[in-house]
């Protein structure tokens, strides 16, 4: 709705207000890797491409592009007449090919400490330049062929290169401006230039930020919200629902703990809905390299975890619905995920990756199966007789900074112990540090069973299979006994390597799917859920927004309108079904082209 205070004469100014508690630390999009900051750059800077609401690549600053045979050289033809403007709306310069070169140069310069540099190393000599082995940037695989022609040369064949372009590291920057601002680039609203849908009108960290529509934007017809107001509130989680009800904000996430209240109240119920899932996937990792304290018997765990039946018993015993109830009490099934790679990630001609043959079975069956669990338990107990002591102590830490996780851990503990019996396992829930959890717990392997998550970086299944390969920092499945193949590598590793080598998309995806299915069927990990922000009350229609798992796409306001009233969950579900169908059609159509 329009602002009620609106004394703007037209009364037609569309404003969207929200409170947030996660502050952004910089506007320097070339440096950041944080979601909150992506959300900012998504709306003020445009990259070469964008997506439509079904996740199909669309031209943005690049009007057209082409790649060579093996996908190593990509050429982009830029849109002309796109302007850099300052925060007060003054035109500063045109956006040209060199701006992309300058951007990448900045990112790959190690001293700038860009957090997304590792993605940009996909270009030729990117890594070498970053590590200082090459000092001449012209040897790096990016080139302004002319003012409006840009060419990337890549290190390896990369069919999914386009999906990477929506990352901030491939965003343009005006070199002159950047040089002028130096260190202070991106520290204030004046110290950045804008070429996106919005311009920052106010930027006061820990207070308020205001985005206003960019009048010089090349695609301003598709920008419908005129002003976006973010008010900082550290206790947003506590006060936002009330603020929404009082009409002080247009969007508020509704914490799980109060969701009952909203659903029990007719009036409120009409205003709250599920939010979209994101592409983070959650899974329980069984650690093959336990390094925890002797009191929790890491050796015993090691013996147990190397027994497939033991793993399988856990795999089938985990009641994921009951665990999910702690975060999503109303539609827990909607959040569950039977694979590591979530659905809607990539597809082969409209067939979703998770429905590919090797994964299909896994995807479509619930892993929770009491009978199987008990069956495997029996087997494991006989096999492990004399080798392992029962009950097996299972150290399951959680991050004490996350109340939901804490709750979930208690639920899972109780559920598993009840089902499998206290004679079999003894789950020990332990609070880990709220900051430095990764460093303190996951990376050093101080756990037996751990809820972990992972998010993708580019449109290739490799993005999801990598964490479990050698050098990964998860549960080290390569150390599992009995899976080493003749080349000395683990079976899983070999499967992934093979997939990566395959350039034909259909075959490639098939191979990746096989690897993933192997990982799950061997119960090295127990897939659990996809990420999501739970319930929200919002006057936005999520299906109008651009859609894609990669980069900053999901954060764009472009194309969205502020609704008169928030969607209810029924409306949402309806819209979701419609959208999924339309998307499948659109993907199939796009695939045919």
């Amino acid at each position: 709705a329009c602002s009620e205070k609106g004394d703007e004469s037209s009364g037609k100014v569309s404003e969207y207000r929200t409170v947030y508690s996660g502050e952004i630390k910089t506007l320097n999009y070339l440096k950041t890797a944080e979601a909150n900051e992506f959300a900012m750059s998504a709306n003020i800077i445009d990259g070469l491409i964008e997506y439509n609401q079904y996740g199909i690549v669309q031209p943005s600053l690049a009007e057209s592009w082409s790649s060579n045979e093996d996908n190593t050289v990509w050429t982009f033809k830029l849109r002309e007449d796109v302007k850099w403007v300052t925060s007060d709306g003054k035109e500063y310069a045109d956006v040209v090919a060199q701006d992309f070169v300058d951007g990448l140069n900045y990112v790959l310069d190690a001293k700038n400490e860009s957090s997304t540099a590792w993605i940009a190393t996909v270009v030729k000599n990117g890594d070498a330049f970053y590590n200082g082995e090459i000092t001449d940037f012209s040897q790096v695989g990016v080139k302004a062929v002319d003012e409006y022609t840009l060419e990337y040369t890549l290190e390896n064949p990369t069919p999914y290169f386009l999906s990477m372009l929506n990352y901030v590291c491939f965003f343009p920057v005006n070199g002159e401006f950047l040089a002028e601002k130096g260190e202070s680039f991106g520290t204030t609203k004046e110290n950045v230039l804008y070429n996106g849908a919005y311009v920052l009108d106010k930027f006061e960290p820990q207070n308020e930020r205001v985005l206003v529509k960019n009048d010089t934007y090349w695609d301003k017809e598709n920008v419908f919200i005129d002003r976006i107001r973010y008010k900082y509130n550290k206790e947003a989680g506590t006060v936002a629902p009330e603020l929404f009800l009082r009409g002080e904000v247009d969007s508020a996430s509704i914490p799980t703990s109060v969701i009952d209240e909203w659903f029990n109240d007719e009036e409120k119920k009409a205003q709250v809905r599920q939010s979209q899932n994101n592409f983070y996937t959650y899974f329980y990792a069984l650690n093959f390299d336990p390094q925890f304290d002797a009191q929790y018997e890491p050796e015993n765990w090691k013996v147990a975890v190397n027994n497939k039946n033991f793993r399988k018993s856990l795999y089938h015993a985990l009641d994921r619905v009951s665990a999910m109830l702690t975060t999503e009490p109303y539609n827990p099934e909607d959040m569950l995920n039977n694979t590591i790679t979530p659905k809607n990630f990539v597809d082969v001609e409209g067939v979703d990756y998770t429905q590919l043959e090797p994964l299909k079975n896994v995807t479509n069956t619930d892993s929770f199966n009491k009978d199987l669990a008990l069956e495997f338990k029996e087997k494991a107990m006989t096999e492990l007789q004399g080798k392992a002591t029962f009950p097996v102590k299972v150290l399951m830490p959680y991050n004490s900074g996350s109340p939901d996780w804490a709750n979930r851990s208690q639920v899972v503990e109780q559920q598993l112990e009840t089902l499998l019996g206290a004679d079999y396992i003894d789950i020990i829930v332990e609070a880990g540090p709220s900051t430095g959890f990764l460093q303190e717990v996951r990376r050093p392997g101080k756990y037996a069973l751990l809820e972990a998550n992972w998010g993708p970086d580019y449109a290739d299944p490799a993005s999801y299979t990598d964490p479990f390969t050698e050098g990964g920092t998860y549960n080290k499945p390569e150390l599992a006994e009995g899976y080493t193949e003749s080349n000395g590598k683990s079976k899983y590793q070999n499967m992934v390597d093979a997939a990566k080598a395959e350039m034909d998309l259909a075959k490639r995806y098939e191979l990746f799917a096989q690897a993933e299915a192997f990982l799950i069927e061997e119960a090295f990990v127990i897939p659990y859920a996809v990420g999501g922000t739970g319930y929200i009350a919002s006057k936005l229609n999520p299906f109008e927004a651009q859609y894609s798992p990669f980069g900053v796409t999901l954060e764009k306001f472009k194309g969205q309108k502020v609704l008169e009233k928030p969607m209810s969950n029924e409306e949402y579900k309806e819209a979701l079904a419609k959208w999924e169908q339309e998307r499948a059609e659109a993907l199939a159509e796009a695939g045919e082209q």
């Binding site: 506590t238 702690t326 109340p403 109780q414």
Partner: protein, 324 residues
Amino acid sequence: MGLYSEEITNISEKSNEKLFEFAVVDEKKAEETGYSNYSYWRSTWKSFLKNRLAVFLLILVCTIVAFVIIQPYLPYQKSPTEIYIDEQTSSQARNIAPNSEFWFGTNSIGQDLWSRIWAGTRTSLFIGFVVALVEVIVGITIGALWGFSRKLETPITQAYNIVENIPTTIVLILMSYILRPSISTIIIAMCITGWVEMARFIRNQIVILRDREYNLASKCLGTPSYRIILKNLLPYLISVIMLRMSLAIPFAIGAEVFLTYIGLGLPISEPSLGNLINEGRVLMMSPDLRYQLIFPSIVLSIITISFYIIGNAFADAADPKNHV
């Protein structure tokens, strides 16, 4: 002068010859007449008893402490950590309003609030007592040295100025990094920062007392310093120390709430008033669920207010001026 003469005339008649003999004076008896049966502690206690409210609260607190200890062994008690499953939906018995089954209702994952609150009270009181005790012991030791030893005075004062001005939050957060969140961490963190005020307080008191003549007298008799502190100074401080201690308990509980608020509190699996309240804060905005905040808040307030009032009443009672 007319005032006096009247009396004289009518007295002489009453007087009896026999009485006008000298009485035998017993010197020993004379010595004893001045004995007053005033006892400091008895008087303190009596004067404390006069404060009805404080006495009531003292009984209340004792009852709560006793109850909190025996509560788990009473019949019909539920486990504070078990997640209860709703028979009908066979999912967690979430957010159930107080009823005959769950006396204080359940929380958002189906744990029994009644038992959680008492378990939390147990934890918080334990933390409070331990912190108060450590603070008092460390505070007294350092404060006594600080106030009594002239040699140590300057170094301790300097150290105090430094410690006092290092923001507590830094220390607290560092502690939580070095140690895992747990009861002992929270106790250590609070003790590390808490003794300072106590030490300064004791020191100020001792400075007031140390030059009193009776201490000088002890010095003249060659009494070693530790005994002077122990026998001459601390007995005078016992009332203020007890006051401090009773105030330290509500303070420690409040600090625990704050620590939990900034994310350094106890893990949720370890119920305490701090995390119950923090969990409950979010529910503030939902009238139906507010009970989850209100119950622990009430228990917490009763405890802190009681200790506060008891402490003050005791301090008043311990002041000889008020032994009226």
